[in-house]
């Protein structure tokens, strides 16, 4: 019966090609609009490190004055997403986490040994040693540095694959030297191509939609180099003053990202108590004027708290589905008109012995065929639309970038992966059924005798 119904469906679509094309087109446009929205949302809403969801936590303390929220604070109920140097150092002393990282992003000038390559600016992450094991950073050569070098930093550096390719031609550069801001460093590791989406561990710069840094040196170099942060520095106390070279070390200004990794849940609870004790103690000495609002949050919560996905993405998604809904309603109307035109033949089939369910099934198969054809055309429109968006939205970011990681990041925003494609197929089927269920049932419930005389 299925193949018979399928034949009838295809014949029915051929019988009125214009109306069929309108229905397929309406579904295709709806599918394309929603799939583009889903693709953009999916690219932003994915979990960058799901296997560590219950182990990896961002740490925030509420160091703000007890005043009204600042105008720029979107979520005044949450603490700032970075820590002061003083607090980061204090927390770093705890041995409860198996890994702790304090870090920030800066920039330096790299002078290659190869005189054919001019010195060029690089982004630098100053971080403690646990960064690499904590975030499961993949290495192609060597590794990170030892934790002992966090306080007494050695002149060692980890390079991104892009930089290693650029200045060493992709060769194993471990043990070789690079010069950053005139100071020589020994390469201890080269990171493989690695683009966490989003760059959850640092939400500065493009709200986390930026590629990782090109060079990594020990956080301990901050004191010696005084490299300025390339990110937000928010002074959360009215008394804070950014004056003199040590200001960021002493003032109530947040500028450091701080992450910890625990073995288990109880360690996390112990750490929460430790952090709360720390702020309670600080309050006794005149700091932390607000009541405790210390948050130790897993990655997914962290991304949600600080709007990494963003309301605009959700709005796009909602609009995409609203548009799909409009297309479904249009298709429903077209299908109803088409099916009612064929009512005399349905009446005849009922007279010949077809049950209501036979008629409904036959028409449902037709709407599923329409849905799938609409889905196929919609998929093509989606790919075209995403290509157009890539040109429209990201061409400026790509135009000045020779870094393949950045290209990969931009591509990922407009890339339809298998799960999105499967969603498109499912959505097409659902759309077809939603648009066709009522017309199919309606036509199935018509009294068979009504149209026999007019057939």
């Amino acid at each position: 019966m299925f193949f018979h119904d399928l034949q009838l469906a295809l014949r029915s679509l051929r019988r009125n090609p214009f109306l069929s094309a309108l229905m397929i087109g309406a579904i295709a446009v709806g599918i394309a609009a929603s799939m583009i929205a889903i693709t953009l949302y999916h690219a932003r809403a994915g979990h960058p490190i799901p296997w560590k969801e219950d182990k990896l936590f961002a740490v925030t303390l509420d160091t703000r004055d007890d005043g009204p929220p600042e105008s720029f604070e979107r979520h005044p109920e949450y603490p700032p997403f970075q820590l002061t140097y003083r607090d980061a150092r204090a927390l770093y002393a705890s041995d409860i986490p198996i890994h702790s990282v304090m870090m920030y992003r800066s920039g330096q000038v790299l002078s290659p040994d190869n005189k054919n390559i001019k010195p060029f600016g690089v982004t630098t992450r100053l971080t403690t040693a646990d960064f690499f094991p904590m975030f499961d950073v993949p290495f192609i050569y060597g590794s990170g540095w030892a934790r002992a070098e966090d306080d007494a930093p050695g002149a060692v550096v980890v390079l991104s694959k892009f930089i290693n390719d650029k200045i060493f031609g992709g060769a194993n550069s471990v043990g070789r030297e690079v010069v950053l801001d005139g100071r020589p460093y020994r390469v201890v590791g080269v990171i493989a191509a690695w683009v966490p989406r989003p760059k959850y561990y640092d939400l500065n710069n493009w709200g986390g939609w930026e590629i990782p840094e090109e060079v990594y040196i020990s956080f301990g170099w901050y004191r010696a180099l005084r490299l300025s942060p390339h990110g937000n520095v928010n002074c959360v106390s009215r008394s804070a003053k950014i004056e003199g070279p040590d200001a960021l070390l002493t003032q109530e200004c947040v500028w450091l990202q701080y992450w910890v990794e625990f073995r288990n849940r109880s360690d996390r609870d112990r750490y929460q108590a430790f952090v709360d004790n720390y702020t309670n103690e600080g309050r006794r000495h005149g700091r932390f004027p607000r009541k405790n609002n210390n948050r130790i949050v897993a990655v997914q919560t962290w991304l949600s708290m600080y709007d990494v996905v963003g309301d605009d993405s959700r709005m796009q998604l909602a609009l995409g589905f609203v548009f799909l809904g409009v297309c479904i309603l249009n298709t429903l109307g077209l299908m109803l008109a088409k099916f009612l035109t064929a009512a005399p033949i349905c009446g005849l089939r009922r007279a010949l012995g077809a049950r209501r369910s036979d008629i409904i099934r036959q028409h449902l198969i037709e709407v599923i065929v329409v849905g799938l054809l609409g889905g196929a055309v919609g998929m093509a429109l989606t790919l075209g639309g995403l290509g157009f968006l890539k040109v429209l939205m990201f061409s400026a970011r790509l135009a000045h970038s020779d870094n393949p990681d950045r290209v990969a990041l931009v591509q990922s925003f407009v890339h339809m992966d298998l799960s999105v494609m499967l969603a498109a197929i499912g959505l097409s089927l659902l759309t077809g059924v939603l648009a066709g269920l009522y017309p199919a049932v309606r036509i199935g419930r018509l009294a068979p005798a009504t149209f026999l005389k007019t057939q």
Binding site: A351, L352, G353
Partner: protein, 235 residues
């Protein structure tokens, strides 16, 4: 074969109700060929629709092939139509984009018959109506008489107990009407009960009995031929 007692059918709208059948009673024997006559609007087609289980009756009792079918579900009525009833219409009611073969095949699908069985029945039915060489033609490529023959083939291919024909010659010229009538008589002679609505008095006189309907009731019954009731015996 068909027995109705005080059957009534009323069509209602918001402002008016029409009594299409009023306490109609009749009995048609197995193997009988009956003509239903009457003026337009007298209830002939409604009677045929009720007899063919296309319409539910509003009152009375209807027994079809020994089974009380007065209060069946829609599915049960479909099942009986599929197994035991063949329809022939004035306008042929062929599916325009199906060829002759597939038009005849249509009712067999709803009986879930296998492909070879369908093929055997279609071939036999088209042979019987003399259209075995026209299987690939679509209805528009056939004359009116040929189209009605296809409709007859479709009606008989399921080997029904009863054929209900609603003015089967109404759209045909005299010669063609005679040929179709001959074919129906031949089918009836083979044992199939036929109820035929017609306006043609000459055709009506070629059957066993004629029921004349006026205002939804049997007004007159004419016996034209002696009918020998069909008896079946185990072979």
């Amino acid at each position: 074969m068909i027995e109705m007692h005080n059957v009534s059918k009323v069509f209602r709208t918001d402002v008016v109700q029409t009594h299409a059948l009023r306490d109609l009673s009749l009995k048609v024997e197995p193997g009988e060929f009956v003509a239903i006559t009457g003026h337009s609007g007298s209830g002939k087609t409604t009677f045929l629709n009720v007899a063919g289980l296309l319409e539910e009756l509003d009152g009375g009792r209807y027994t079809f092939d020994g089974q009380d079918v007065s209060r069946l579900t829609d599915n049960q009525r479909s099942g009986i139509r599929s197994e035991k009833i063949g329809f022939i219409f004035q306008g042929f009611n062929l599916i325009p984009d199906l060829n002759v073969y597939h038009n005849v095949e249509a009712p067999l699908y709803y009986r879930r018959m296998s492909g070879p069985e369908r093929h055997r029945r279609i071939t036999a039915a088209l042979d019987r109506v003399g259209l075995s060489t026209r299987t690939k033609h679509i209805p528009a490529q056939l004359s009116g008489g040929q189209q009605q023959r296809v409709a007859i083939a479709r009606a008989i291919c399921g080997d029904p107990r009863v054929i209900l024909a609603d003015e089967p010659t109404g759209n045909l010229d005299t010669t063609m009407s005679e040929q179709i009538m001959d074919l129906l008589l031949e089918i009836n002679a083979a044992g199939t009960t036929i109820l035929m609505v017609t306006h043609n008095p000459e055709l009506a006189q070629r059957v066993h009995r004629q029921f004349h309907i006026v205002d939804g009731q049997i007004d007159q019954i004419h016996q034209f031929k002696r009918f020998q009731a069909v008896t079946t015996a185990a072979v």
